[in-house]
Point group: C2
Chain length 437, copies 2
């Protein structure tokens, strides 16, 4: 345990993470409303979270009929949304998921640098490589790149982005009115990158940003994903069901840092946790039962089919076991997680989709504030986590509950800040500002 | 004259449009500050402008030594900036320049739709094709696409974007909690675009936005530029030096609409105007002289060289005429404008760069509020303009002056609104909301 207090991200989705949250009476009537997200961001900031966090999908995934039972047709561009929220928050970090597979490094680097400038150093980039052919088909391809190829591209992409962010020295901008020199050209470097996938001359037409680089977040848990994270990530968001698995992952990943000349506390590991919170255990269980009861079986099976690499599971008995799955080019690590979970706990398909519907493989906790805090404390103290990405199943209810009920409990235990000390996301997380290379 | 009141855009750059504005004592110490832009946006909204407008360059243009004498090293991503400003304004439109040559239609369509949702229908897209090899070199190319090719790509790009914006019918989203249907799948259309340049399956994973499509703005004045505008643009931003030229351009472009089944008032023509405003004529002239005196000759020549397709003009006498220029693949229409201006008025290189430094070929007006208003009224009444894109030479001073001094003068003449009537950019401009195709 290299830090004494827990870091927290607030991973927000319009109606909440539970697949059927939007059907619950407490969910908002529609989630494409800036006021709704402003309220969530401000609540998270009141709760002293390190950051808010948004995911992304670059397609309407699955069949239209099944997507129509979810909110998947209503996805904001997360970076544009976070730019709007930068104006109505003061301290909280702003982490946007963006795919390296279907973006361009020059524009992407400039967008994140812009967000970092506008927010006074609060930007974070959750780098993903995207997983589906449906997304690839929106970008001129029939099939997505092979898994290994996606990560090879990501490795090069991030080097290009870091090179562009380092175009200017921190002290390059003089703004010397009498002398007529806005910046010192000798403190500017042209990147001239010629790689396997990208050719980018540079420089970026923007000063180095307050954080130097936005905080680099990753979530891939496959072997190439862990290799990329060990070299470049500063926060890893991961799905872990048990303390043992989480500790093994934590130890494995932290152990890979030294090979890259990095210290263990240069990378923060934050498993996703979806807390279903009640004032009492039974209130929490009631809410959970209410949410689970809103999932139609066909939708639950479709959710699993997506994770099973597209195999249609509706042909198998709902109350029978998970069949053997074909190899998949999609999210390898997520698939492995579900197969293992089903085998370990001997789950039927129905039981498995109910487990997946809350938080897509992330750990769901159902309990009173003290139980939730116990769990976070146990994982944190056992060296399984530096913090957690909190995934409220139902919004705004789940975030309100966490801030009102769980945060004070963590503060009482000395595990969580009572005020922000720094002003940048790096300062909240205890990450150093990178030197220009 | 198809409308009775003038439309106004506020075209904002950090320190102002004059090349040396940043050296003036009234300019801000640095322009990468959200507070500065927030103040500008709120001033423009107080002045009841239809929209604020940001340009873009996707490279540090020109040599490093010359760029170092300008603010060109300090460019925000305009769409990210406008998303931040959406949160701190209520009614004003938000127009971002984005290049079709180096963006991807799926992501771009979603970003603009997101901005339109977040802002309650205030998004506009100034479509450009980018003009320089330096920009192309940040995107994997050695040389930019040929001029005709850029426009062929733009034609296809915009059709893809419009198709994606029309993925869902306006009434597709039911959000029917008891019935479990979030949207009606039969009101969703997959684009399946297979063109010469783009293959995009669709649909966009976002509801149709408040304006249907963001307002489509263009500025190309070349033949392919005018052809694209006649088919697709709803606002054209143009550089015109004289009433005669402006009227000819206006008549030409409006005359091309019928061939596309469009009415004359479906496209608004807004020449750029850079007003140097004083309370008196002599105060305005003093300010202009002050700004012009801040331009070093080498910088002035470099500005012209950039417009001359890269020919190094420093080898020619400063007080001699503009030499013959080689053909250029860059901004054809801008080059033609400067050649014509130099020939018509028999300008020396020095005189020409002083004319260019204020507003890069847009009309500069130096005068008291009444003179500025006279000019706008004359062009508007003569059928040379539906409105103007106001390019303050020095910020925030130039925008403050316009709002405090020129706006009341226009209102007094009945030429300008006294309050916003609508809430979307389309409503401000008097443009209909496009039907879904």
């Amino acid at each position: 345990m290299s830090q004494t207090q827990i870091s927290l991200g607030a991973f927000l989705m319009g109606s909440g993470h539970h697949l059927a949250a939007w059907r619950h009476p407490l969910s908002p009537p529609g989630a494409l409303d800036l006021g709704h997200f402003r309220r969530l961001a401000q609540t998270a900031e009141r709760g002293l979270f390190d950051a808010i966090f948004f995911a992304d999908n670059l397609a309407l995934l699955g069949s239209n009929e099944l997507a129509a039972q979810t909110t998947h047709g209503e996805v904001f561009d997360p970076l544009v949304l976070l730019a709007s929220l930068a104006s109505v928050t003061e301290r909280i970090g702003l982490i946007s998921t963006v795919s390296t597979s279907f973006n361009d490094p020059y524009l992407l680097a400039r967008r994140f640098a812009t967000l970092d400038h506008l927010s006074g150093g609060r930007a974070g980039w959750n780098l993903v490589t995207s997983a589906t052919d449906q997304e690839a088909q929106n970008f001129g391809l029939e099939q997505h790149f092979e898994h290994a190829d996606r990560y090879a591209r990501a490795e090069e992409f991030i080097d290009v982005a870091r090179g562009l962010w380092d175009s200017f020295a921190d002290d390059a901008f003089l703004r010397d009115k009498p002398g007529g020199r806005y910046f010192a050209p000798e403190k500017l470097r042209t990147l001239a990158h010629h790689g396997d996938y990208y050719r980018v001359r540079g420089p970026l037409n923007q000063p180095r940003s307050p954080q130097g680089h936005p905080v680099l977040v990753q979530a891939g848990s496959s072997e190439p994903g862990k290799a990329l994270a060990a070299r470049t990530a500063e926060v890893v968001f991961t799905a872990q069901q048990t303390l043992e698995d989480a500790r093994a992952f934590y130890t494995d990943l932290k152990g890979r840092l030294a090979a890259h000349g990095r210290e263990a506390d240069e990378l923060k590991i934050m498993p996703g946790i979806s807390p279903v919170i009640g004032r009492t255990q039974s209130e929490a269980e009631d809410l959970q039962a209410e949410l689970q009861g809103l999932i139609e079986p066909q939708l639950g099976l479709a959710l699993l089919s997506g994770m099973a690499g597209g195999l249609d599971l509706s042909q198998f008995p709902l109350d029978g076991p998970l069949p053997e799955l074909p190899p998949s080019n999609a999210m390898k690590s997520r698939q492995a997680l579900f197969v293992e979970l089903a085998r370990r706990e001997n789950l039927t398909l129905r039981q498995l989709y109910l487990r997946a519907a809350g938080a897509r493989g992330h750990c769901t906790l159902v309990g009173a504030p003290r139980q939730i805090a116990d769990h976070l404390e146990a994982w944190f103290s056992a060296g399984a986590a530096d913090g957690f990405n909190i995934m409220p199943p139902l919004l705004p209810h789940g975030l309100d509950s966490f801030v009102e009920l769980v945060v004070p409990e963590l503060q009482k235990r000395g595990l969580y800040r009572r005020e922000y000390r720094g002003s940048t996301l790096r300062e909240h997380l205890g990450l150093r500002r990178p030197e220009r290379r």
